[in-house]
């Protein structure tokens, strides 16, 4: 029963939601909207489980004095500070929670995101070393596309941006669409396997 019931629910809901996609009527829309609401409710409860797991893990790390346990204290302090300020003073614009969010979390996230610029440079350097024919072609295409985006029209003429556009619109788009067709078919196939109960990994492994 532990496996049969989820499989039966999955099959019935899979069929209903597939049919729903083709019915624009308001009753069908009502069903879809309610499914989304249920999903949000389930996700909220799952979040409690997630936070519980995180807290348990870090408390154990501190208790057992595992390697880098001091970082766990910082993590636990961060979680507690967010919870106390959020529940204590609310989440209005100037509340302590928003101060923590705006002046600590957002700058830290922006710092991580800005690392991307440096990683793109290092990855490009590695990839564009013209050691093989493919790498050389990639290098040439990349240089054309990059220069095509720079306003050099008055110096080199229209041909460079046009060539860059052509590379993006034809060879690049053709390859992208080929991959996307494969992804679409793969998604249908996987969804079908899940609905029919052939693919059961989402149940937590085993047959």
């Amino acid at each position: 029963m532990r496996r049969e019931l989820p499989l039966a629910i999955c099959f019935i809901m899979g069929i209903i939601m597939t049919v729903q996609f083709f019915i624009p009527h308001r009753h069908s829309q009502w069903l879809f909207d309610n499914m989304l609401k249920w999903l949000i409710i389930v996700l909220t409860f799952a979040m409690i489980l997630g936070i519980g797991n995180l807290v348990k893990l870090h408390i154990q790390k501190v208790q057992r004095r595992r390697r880098d346990w001091l970082y766990s204290i910082v993590a636990l302090f961060g979680i507690s500070a967010s919870l106390i300020t959020g529940f204590g003073w609310g989440i209005e614009a100037d509340s302590p929670f928003m101060v923590l969010y705006n002046y600590i979390q957002i700058p830290m996230q922006a710092t991580m995101f800005s690392l991307l610029a440096f990683y793109i440079a290092s990855a490009a350097f590695r990839t564009f070393r013209a050691r093989t024919l493919e790498a050389t072609l990639l290098l040439v295409a990349a240089v054309i596309v990059m220069l095509g985006r720079v306003p050099l029209e008055s110096i080199v003429g229209r041909w460079l941006p046009d060539l860059a556009e052509w590379i993006l619109d034809y060879p690049n788009m053709a390859a992208k669409r080929g991959i996307m067709i494969g992804i679409g078919l793969g998604a249908i196939s996987t969804a079908l396997k899940i609905i029919l109960g052939i693919e059961r990994s989402w149940l937590g492994g085993g047959d």
Binding site: P24, L43, I51, Q109, L116, S122, A123, K176, A187, I198
Partner: protein, 383 residues
Amino acid sequence: MKKLSLAFATLLLLGAAAFAAAEEAAPAVTARDAPNDAGGTVEITWPASPLEKEEGFKGYEVQRRAEGEEVFVTIGELLAGEVVHQDQEAEDGVPYEYRVRALTSESAPVVLGVSTAKASGQWFNTARSNALIGVVFTSFVIIFFIFRAKGGAELFVRKIAGLDAVEDAIGRATEMGKPILFVSGLADASEIATIAAMTILGKVARKTAEYETPLIVPCYDPIVMIVEKEIVRQAYTEAGKPDAFDEDSVFFVTQSQFGYVAAVDGIMLREKPATCFYMGAFFAESLILAETGADTGAIQIAGTDRVTQLPFFITACDYTLMGEELYAATAYLGRDPLFLGSLKGQDWSKAAIMLALIVGTIFLIISTDLGLWFAKLFETSAS
């Protein structure tokens, strides 16, 4: 002769009258139920008024009144050139009369016409008929090959280097005595890519259990964490080593995109895993993760269905599963005939799409109209 002239003149008069009547009958304003909608919407269209060219033209006014009501109520005001309006406040089944007026500063509003319509919801979206045919066809082909495989038919699957490397990568970590890091993307459990990643995790965990190699699975989504914990536990049980399963090896990190990246990067730099797997849906963080992994010297195998992230993984990882190869992992690693059958079905559906592309290209070469007509058959509505 006189009679003939008279008859001819009568015919001309009749023809002119009929033409005039037809011209008069041509509706200036057309109101109709919006097609393929949930209901509650009426679409009103009208031809551009010649008054638009005159000085002082202000725009159009769309008015409505329900059956039995005396007064028209304005429901929309549009600028010159706008000739379509949707009334999204209509009640299903109630007949409404719609009136469009041209507004000028020079004179009183000029009524362009009146039309009546009722709103209603549809039970089938005809704009998605082709999608339905496509889904039914693909599903039929896949199911057909699943049954063929079940019947014992031999099915060939081409080599996928990224999947062949999985065992070697696990072996390398075992030899080096270092852990394996498995990142299953930043999407929730309803994403097909995440489900594919979970399947691969099951196979990887089975091997790590056999070799007793430590496995680290930081999760972005709490539901994914719960499912993956069960998957890894089951894999260790199946490998006959349930005691080797570390409850804390699968854990939730955060649902903040870059917070998650910072945590995983930290794990990579501290634990120095010998092998990193990135399977599932990834976004802007893909390169940050993969480059950090490359810096630590780990063997990296990535797989994603996000086309925009593929170049980053190809650049920074040793092996990359592109799009459908990620979904093919279950069949490839498990060699289960049922899964292999579904792969074959996908291939045949792809062959059908290639055939349609060739036919479309030939049609387009023969005639532009024919080619465009053929392309229109594949257009579908997203909403």
